[in-house]
Amino acid sequence: MRFLSLLKYQYTKYGVKELFVMLLTGFIVFTLMDALSPLLYTLTVAQMAKDSLPSKTAYFYPFDRITNILTGFDGDEEKRNALIAYMAESTANSGALGVGKTNVCRTGYGEGAAETIYVGYNQDMIQYTTLPLLSGQWSDMDGAAVEIPVVVGGAYRDRQNVALGDTLQLDFALGNGETYTCRVVGILDRNDMYFNLSYGESDPTVYSIAELHQWLDNTHSDGTDYIVIYPTKPFEDIYDIEYSPGQLMFFEDNAQLNLLNAGERCGTYATLDDMIKTQIKRTVYLNKSSIVTTMALFMFCLMGLGGYSLLSTVRHRKMMAVYRICGMRRAYQTLLQIVAVFIMVAIPAGLSLMWIPRRLGNYAMLNGTFYAVYAVVLIIILLPSTLLIMTGYHSSFEIRKEI
């Protein structure tokens, strides 16, 4: 109670100055985090991708199709032929999978997991999200020899009124006039999906993962966990491209590395590290005006806060000198000052922290990195005040002036 009374003394009577400083602090934290968000997002996603993706995975830029690569391929003929041979073999093995239509990359997911990860690469930006299942599971190989296990999206379920375990006849838009018997093994917990197998021309989508691949191509049924990822819907809209299972291609192990090597010449393939570097560069480039403006604003605000801290510390020094001659201990003095400043920073920081996740929550990026950056920002804001407090530590100067 006494501490609170003394704490109250640290602030001006009506708290107008403090309110202004708190608004300023909140504004600084918010704008800074807002400017840092793209970069933070990139770093977060990069780290998550690194942690979750196979290290020897080759990634295709969605808009560079194999045909284009081969057209522009000016490497030696031997490599080109090897590449074509691989494509041909791949086509032969994969049935519907075709040369020249590669638009996929791959990642891993847990067998039968209720939630898996989607990692896509689109317009030089890695996208990362989790895909929770409303019911069922991603993988169910029972009866897979006669029925393709599929996971359906919420939109499809609602429109077609399908339930878990239902059997469907789907043609997968393969264009061969056949339909395939599929069994719904899982239903996604969301309607919008980034990867899908188009169901004809209609909007509703059906999702199938490893099982479809295994069903189509038993030579690859080695039990490896993977999912196929299509380019994002916005990308399709921008480039006016429609995807179908016929555009799928899978890359495995050595063949994948071969492609990677060939890709060096083509300049089309990238490793994850390359992608991350490119993405960071691109993020900084795209946000440079925002970052520069915010940093300038941040510096101005910081100077303002520093000035305020300086003035308030001078005021507090006198107050602390009074407290000291009235019997306050040094440790108590320091604690009081730091708590007073901390409250002024903590409240706006807390409010901005509540606001920021709404903007960033969709990207699943509120992890340790985010909070670490957030803490650093707060320390930067707290630092001038704290340093000034420490320089006026036990009000010796003021006491000497007074006495």
Binding site: R2, M319, V322, R324, C326, G327, R329, A331, E402, I403
Partner: protein, 221 residues
């Protein structure tokens, strides 16, 4: 003895070229109920001596015992408690918190005190009445005259009922009439048994005290 100093010395920048001997082997005792003036030219060590009495500084050598406590051996907690409960300060520039009212300024020592807060209001009002500033209790300090401010400072020094009042040039910022008034307050307090030590340049003020200590170059003469 309330205050007992034995060969008390205080050096600043000891061992360096710019070493200053603020106090040099000062030996003195001050008894309960004395009204004592400390005079001397600027730089003679008056303020340093007052800081020693107020437990704001410790001797470089020698001993300084305040109410039986050796300030050199006591920790910050003990010294702070002594300042809160046993010592009241009155400063030349008043040392008041300008953007608070009179009542809140006088309340500060009570906020730091271990004593029960039940009697807080009664204590403050009693001291306000004693110094004839009760009607000013809700006024902001910045609105007061110099004499009124000094009375508030004295009220703050008295609110915890200390044994010793230390006044550093208490009339330095006041006109002569107000200074006389302040001294009469000190005399009255002294008549009620308070020990008062006044540091001053003003010989007129010193003349009103029972005892005068003269410091020259850190030594008592």
């Amino acid at each position: 003895m309330l205050i007992q100093c034995q060969a008390l010395s205080k050096y600043y920048n000891k061992g360096k070229e710019n070493e200053v001997r603020a106090l040099d082997a000062v030996t003195l005792t001050i008894s309960k109920g004395e009204l004592c003036a400390v005079i001397g030219p600027s730089g003679s060590g008056k303020t340093t001596l007052l800081r020693m009495f107020g437990c704001l500084d410790v001797p470089t050598s020698g001993t300084c015992r305040i109410l039986g406590v050796d300030t050199q051996k006591a920790n910050d907690r003990i010294l702070s408690r002594m300042r809160n409960e046993q010592i009241g300060f009155v400063l030349q520039e008043f040392g008041l918190i300008e953007d608070r009212n009179v009542y809140e300024n006088i309340r500060v020592p009570l906020l730091l005190s271990r004593r029960r807060r039940k009697r807080e209001k009664a204590s403050i009002e009693a001291v306000l009445r004693k110094l004839n500033i009760f009607e000013l209790r809700n006024k902001m300090v910045s609105q007061l005259s110099g004499g009124q401010k000094q009375r508030v400072a004295i009220a703050r020094a008295l609110v915890n009922d200390p044994s010793i009042i230390l006044a550093d040039e208490p009339t330095g910022a006041l006109d002569s009439a107000t200074a006389k008034n302040v001294m009469s307050v000190f005399k009255e307090l002294n008549s009620h048994g308070k020990t008062i030590i006044v540091v001053t340049h003003n010989p007129m003020i010193a003349d009103q005290c029972d005892r005068v200590l003269t410091l020259t170059d850190g030594r008592l003469s």
